[in-house]
């Protein structure tokens, strides 16, 4: 199967933070927020990135847009490795690589008008005359469904959903090809989340955008993603086609996440083994499989050896990779999807 060249190819990316102490702030430990992540993203594709809060999703996103300097690994964006580029060389590339933040109240400067906020990208890159910039702002506001008069008002005059539209318009200003969406609807009311998600999907179709869609909410990511990566303690533990992930989750962690999705008609008994133990700290990640302290199937091998991300489906099927030493039968795992899935299972 020949696929188009990926727009983004992340290989073995690590972003570690030194944990400092003492008066000379010596590094006393390392927080391995992102610890060896690899994936590809195709043009026009949406890759969902899910995981509990604190597993390193934002750190991964911020490393890709180089708000953070990665410790190791490569980030090939349209063939150029961003991991080691300096600020000056990054600047022209930033036009094509943008980010949408979780909380628009935080990501919009409260002292600037919407017009100033949307004009900033053009000013930074020296694009257009003042008049052309004003016209571009009008177009952007049209695109995200805000009235043009919004340009003269301040962010606080808008509702949460409208503010996120302003954030989206800013990210669109320079006609990017890839947008990192870091929990773009998590701060919004449930009632308007779908409007903003639909806007993102419309814009994707119109401009052929690629999204890395970060969220802790599996229910949201199902809607918008072509493929989904599940992240745990700085690593990707499962990466597959979106449909396949929900239909045949292979990693115990993924199954637990899916089991935890609130359902329209709650069943009386929802198994929730994920309740055993909190998210371990990325400062001292457990040896072996990072999930073993919470995994009901952990063996000595799991406690010793970290499992690599390996392909589990045959060549004819869409890729489905999982980082687990075992091919676990769904039956072995309490999952609300367990029963109907049993006969389809190929895992042995």
């Amino acid at each position: 199967m020949s696929s188009p060249a990926p727009i983004l190819e992340v290989r073995d990316l690590k972003t570690h933070f030194p944990v400092r102490g003492g008066i000379w702030l010596r590094s006393v430990a390392t927080c391995k927020a992102v610890d060896g992540v690899s994936f590809q993203l195709l043009p026009g594709e949406t890759l969902g990135l899910v995981g509990e809060s604190g597993c390193g999703k934002s750190t991964l996103g911020k490393s890709i847009v180089r708000l953070l300097a990665p410790t190791a690994g490569s980030i090939r964006f349209e063939g150029v490795d961003l991991a080691t580029l300096g600020r000056k060389k990054l600047k022209p590339i930033r036009r094509h690589l943008q980010m949408i933040f979780q909380d628009p109240a935080e990501s919009l400067n409260a002292r600037h008008t919407v017009g100033q906020i949307l004009e900033e990208p053009f000013i930074i890159h020296g694009i257009g005359s003042a008049e052309e910039r004003r016209a571009s702002i009008d177009t952007l506001l049209d695109k995200v469904g805000l009235p043009r008069a919004a340009a003269h008002r301040y962010p606080f005059e808008f509702s949460g959903g409208q503010r996120q539209r302003i954030g989206i318009a800013r990210a669109l200003a320079l006609q990017p090809r890839l947008i990192i969406c870091d929990e773009p609807v998590s701060a919004l009311d449930v009632s308007i989340q779908s409007q903003v998600l639909n806007l993102l999907l419309d814009l994707q179709r119109e401009f052929h955008l690629s999204y890395l869609f970060i969220t802790h909410n599996l229910a949201v990511v199902k809607h918008v993603s072509d493929r989904i990566a599940v992240m745990y303690l700085g690593r990707i533990v499962e990466l597959s086609d979106a449909e396949d992930l929900y239909a045949r989750p292979r990693h115990p962690y993924t199954r637990a996440l899916i089991a935890a999705i609130p359902e329209p008609e709650p069943r009386a008994t929802r198994p929730r083994f994920i309740g055993t133990g909190d998210l371990p700290s990325p400062i001292n990640p457990p040896p072996g499989c990072p999930f073993h302290p919470r995994c009901p199937h952990a063996t000595d091998l799991c406690r010793r050896e970290p499992p690599p991300l390996r392909e589990t489906s045959s060549a004819a099927e869409p890729s489905h990779a999982v980082a687990c030493h075992y091919d676990l039968l769904p039956a072995a795992i309490p999952s609300p999807l367990g029963a109907p899935q049993k006969q389809e299972s190929r895992d042995t």
Partner: protein, 351 residues
Amino acid sequence: MRLSPQAQLQLRRFRSLKRGYGSFLILVFLSVLALLAELLVSNRALLVRYQGHFFLPTYGAIHPGRDFGSDYAYEVDYRELKDRFAAEHAGNWVLMPLVPYGPNENCYAGQNFQPRPPDAAHGHYLGTDQINRDILARLLYGFRNSLLFSAGFVVMVYAIGIAIGCAMGYFGGWFDLGMQRIVEIWSLLPFLLVVIIVRAALPAGTSFGLGLLLFVVVAFAWTGMTYFMRSATYREKSRDYVAAAQVLGAGPVRVLFHHILPNILSILVTFLPFTTAAAIGSLTALDYLGFGLPPPMPSWGELLREGTGNLDAPWIVASAFCALSFILILITFIGEAIREAFDPKKFTLYR
């Protein structure tokens, strides 16, 4: 310049706080009076008419006595001139300021040095000090020195504190670490001792004027501002609106001056009255101890010292004490009101 809606709101709230806003208006009024002191309290005439010509001696050159028909070459005594012109009935006249005495002038030349009680008939509304100088004149010119000193103090402390604190918070790393240690050590130096040493080390004849004094005091006062600026910059830098600007390609200059500083500035304004009060306080204290402005520069600290040394002439200490307390109370009221108007917990419009 267009004020942001927060700034407008803060301004409105400040105006609605009667006590603080009233104090602010009074302080502005008094400051204007002090800046125009020569027109109100001075031994130079406002206007002289002599042989058909008009003279405005207030801000002009010194007129020797000969210019107006006296027989001496030093500066005219305008009060005497006024009396003489009045006696001559020759169409010449002199218009003196409200209080016709200068701050450094011995108003009773040739008479005993002794404090004289308030005497409205002679225009000494607050009396004179022990060397016959008018106290109201010394208060007003002393206030002006305090104001100039505070203005210089605030500008310099803010400039240094913002520059260094911002750089520490923004760039972090070794620069931050090194500066933090330097600031800590620097703030441990005993201020008064250094002032005494600097004064002693000055070559004889060098005057320890407003500028040098300001420099020494600021050298010890800037550190407090860096602590605040450092943490405020650090906090703002980690917020997403800065990240958003950086993702768009904004460099450090743009991020600092376009995003971070404007967001901190409103908090800095709330410090302004307290910084001013600190400046007036330290100048007065230094003058009181005799390490401040050189004599005969009028100053409140010097007046306080003279007053406490001459308690049998209570009008000296009473004038200085009341003036100082009044100004500090005004500034405190203003500071309270600004703080209330700017309270971040109240002015954060969403969250």
